[in-house]
Symmetry: C2
């Protein structure tokens, strides 16, 4: 594995993991009042585009990280709509 790919996988793991604590916190507290709805909305659409960009560049770290993060942000949207 090249240095570039390694950095990509470490970067992707961290930004992917970054979206998990908020989701866990949301499920635990069932309270999302301080969380801005626009954040997961814009990130979901933006990450769908980064995913296309990663596919065009044939960069697997970008493809995997953006797929996972996009799914996390979609869960956050649902939490925000359900828990408010």
């Amino acid at each position: 594995m090249t240095t570039l790919t390694t950095i990509g996988y470490v970067a992707g793991s961290m930004t992917s993991l970054g979206f998990v604590p908020q989701i866990i916190k949301g499920f635990e507290t069932k309270h999302m009042k301080d969380v801005a709805l626009w954040q997961p909305l814009l990130l979901t659409v933006g990450m769908a585009l980064w995913l296309i960009y990663g596919i065009m560049l044939k960069e697997m770290p970008m493809i995997l990280a953006n797929s996972f993060s996009m799914a996390c942000n979609m869960i956050a949207i649902i939490q925000k709509l359900v828990y408010k």
Copy 2:
């Protein structure tokens, strides 16, 4: 500008803008109780690595988007620590 670069800039604009509403909301409410601290922490470190990755790939959309988003997440960390 190629299709790839255009998609990259649109993707980068959306994910960058995605971090702004939370920061505005934080400044307005001065209340960050429902926001998980781990999110901006992990995203800041991860985006620093995506920035290096973008520099290695010489992909300007990745360089600009990750620089801006990293700065936004650093502000969110400070807000979370100050407002709690």
